[in-house]
């Protein structure tokens, strides 16, 4: 293998190039090993158990309370899509399942990823990991993928569990369309949480301290879920003040601006998309004029039309996730790894 040769005589082509075939094998196994390790770490971690308990308890409680409410309502009036209403309607004392998920989802995404890179760096394992023959992007990829896998498993389990509980509570099995809508909702939620996971991954790269990355993630979460709507309302009211004498067009513009600004927040996008998907009765998600409704026949939208209505939202969420991930990816590739 090693042909002895004098170095000084052959400066131009310093060493003979060697075949890389033996290394590609190592690379491929490295990928699976990293993924398995990350997955095992996530599932074994205490934070996963805490997050699981949190979402399971709130989910079951909200479904239970909604189920009781629906039982009474169904006895009084005939209703379509009862199964889906389990998720969207709130009971007497508790918010609905979707508002819980919309509120807690980001927190779960953040919890799974806030220390993924800087945690390894703080423990001194990152430079050891990266001195193994694996590509650098493998580390980010597998961490993200493992996080998404954990989220998917968790959400599917919770979604199907609460669905099952709902069936027992109200005694009405879901139709095929309802099942599809439920699955679509779970898928959308996975995307939404993956967005927050990629945000937390980015923060774990940008900040050296795990506490800093966790706190900045939480700050962003609070901003989007609480303050964004306030700001949107404020800006819209300054630009187009709605007074007693305001014309219809000003009111409409005010509404449009408010909605437009709040749609900059992924939380708003998710909320609108989920409500539309889970409630076939939603026919529009913007302001609507009475003349537009005139002559319309009230009825539920088919699944395809519901999806069409929120297609931009879905694309937006996926795009945001990918942008965040791409930024972390590029940043990590260029970063210098010091012990």
């Amino acid at each position: 293998m090693n042909i002895p040769f004098s170095f000084k005589g052959a400066l131009k082509i310093p060493f003979k190039e060697k075949s890389e075939s033996s290394h590609s094998e190592a690379k491929r196994t490295g990928l699976a090993v990293l993924y398995k390790k990350e997955l095992a770490d996530q599932f074994r971690s205490k934070r996963f158990i805490i997050v699981l308990i949190l979402i399971a308890v709130t989910g079951l409680a909200s479904i239970y309370s909604a189920g009781l409410g629906i039982r009474e309502a169904v006895e009084q009036q005939e209703s379509d899509f009862v199964f889906l209403r389990l998720f969207t309607s709130s009971g007497n004392s508790l918010p609905s399942f979707i508002s819980f998920v919309s509120f807690l989802g980001p927190l779960i995404g953040l919890a799974l990823g806030f220390d993924s890179i800087n945690g390894e760096q703080a423990r001194g394992t990152l430079s050891r990991l990266l001195s193994q023959p694996i590509h650098r992007d493998t580390v980010v990829n597998r961490k993200f993928l493992a996080g998404v896998t954990v989220l998917s498993v968790m959400l599917l389990a919770i979604g199907l569990t609460v669905g099952g509980l709902g069936i027992i509570l109200i005694g009405i099995p879901p139709s095929l369309e309802e099942l599809f809508r439920l699955l679509l909702f779970i898928l959308l939620t996975i995307v939404y949480m993956a967005l927050w996971l990629s945000i937390s991954l980015l923060f774990s790269l940008l900040f050296k301290q795990t506490a800093t990355s966790a706190l900045s993630g939480i700050a962003l979460w609070l901003f989007f879920s609480v303050f964004m709507n306030l700001i949107a309302g404020l800006v819209a009211n300054v630009l187009f003040p709605v007074t007693e004498q305001a014309s219809a067009s000003v009111v409409l513009r005010n509404q449009r601006w408010q909605q437009g600004i709040s749609r900059l927040s992924p939380t708003q996008l998710y909320d609108e998309a989920v409500v539309t998907i889970l409630n076939p009765g939603v026919r529009t998600i913007g302001p609507i004029l009475s003349e537009q409704i005139e002559g319309a026949i009230p009825g539920a939208l088919p699944l395809g039309q519901s999806i069409l209505l929120v297609w931009p939202h879905i694309v937006g969420l996926i795009a945001l996730t990918m942008i965040c991930f791409a930024i972390s990816y590029v940043y990590f590739m260029k970063q210098e790894i010091r012990a």
Partner: protein
Amino acid sequence: MAGGRIIIKTENLTKKYQNKTAVSSLNLEIEEGEIFGLLGPNGAGKTTTILMLLGLTEPNEGRAWIDGYDCTRNPIAVKSIVGYLPDNVGFYGDMTGRENLRYTGLLNGMDEKELERRIDFLIERVGLRDSADKKVATYSRGMRQRLGIADVLIKNPKVVILDEPTLGIDPEGIREMFALITELSRKDKRTVLISSHLLHQVQQICDRVGIFVDGSLLAAGRIDELGEQVLKGQSKIIELKALPENDELQRIIKAADGVKKVERDRGMIVVHSDYDIRSELAHLIIKNGFSLLHLRLRGGDLDDIYRCYFAKEGVA
């Protein structure tokens, strides 16, 4: 000893940070099978050099090769033949030592059966047999460092790079580690690159050293050669101690041939002379009824060379 084949080579390797040049135009050649010490004070650019060799950071200029592979363009190939022990090496604390080693082995794509055998062998070799199945969180600093050595050797590397391997270990641990490192080179025929700021320790085991200050390599070579190189043209400095210590002793020494200056320094008598007059001095002292306790030519070891370089730097 060394095979003569160059295994690590850098050409004008340069790394700049915003306003500081961490490594400037480094030209280094390390032969297969030797133990090379990269020596210098903290912040001299030793770790940056190592990071560039492993492709963990990109050089601004220049290139580096390990065993024919370009360190910047082909880091995967480099990393599969180089074992790297970072300073402050970290392990997954919730896994046992054995599990940590297994993870590294699997990342290197090793066959599982062979891996288990290798782990057993290495655990034995670094003396961690009793604690291999305990969580790493319970390990002492010295044990971690030894686990680090085992971790480096898992992939059976041609080149071993150790960044400050003796930091924070007790003297006995250091002795054991040095025995191990020497074995890596002599018995396993691996090339070892050690970075350290503790000169007198590292000179015991290095075949050659490079002295690194402020990003540039001031000198490289065997320690005795370095000594001559540095101390050439300067007067020889001999330190001695003899009893009884009195003015008579000083007078006799001063009168000897070639002596330029005699001073006292921390209980020693320091003699500056034009050439090595140890033998004459010893004769003289004993002949006059004194008993000689200590006699040493300064400049022989790395600390002196190092100090000398710093003195020169300080002047410039």
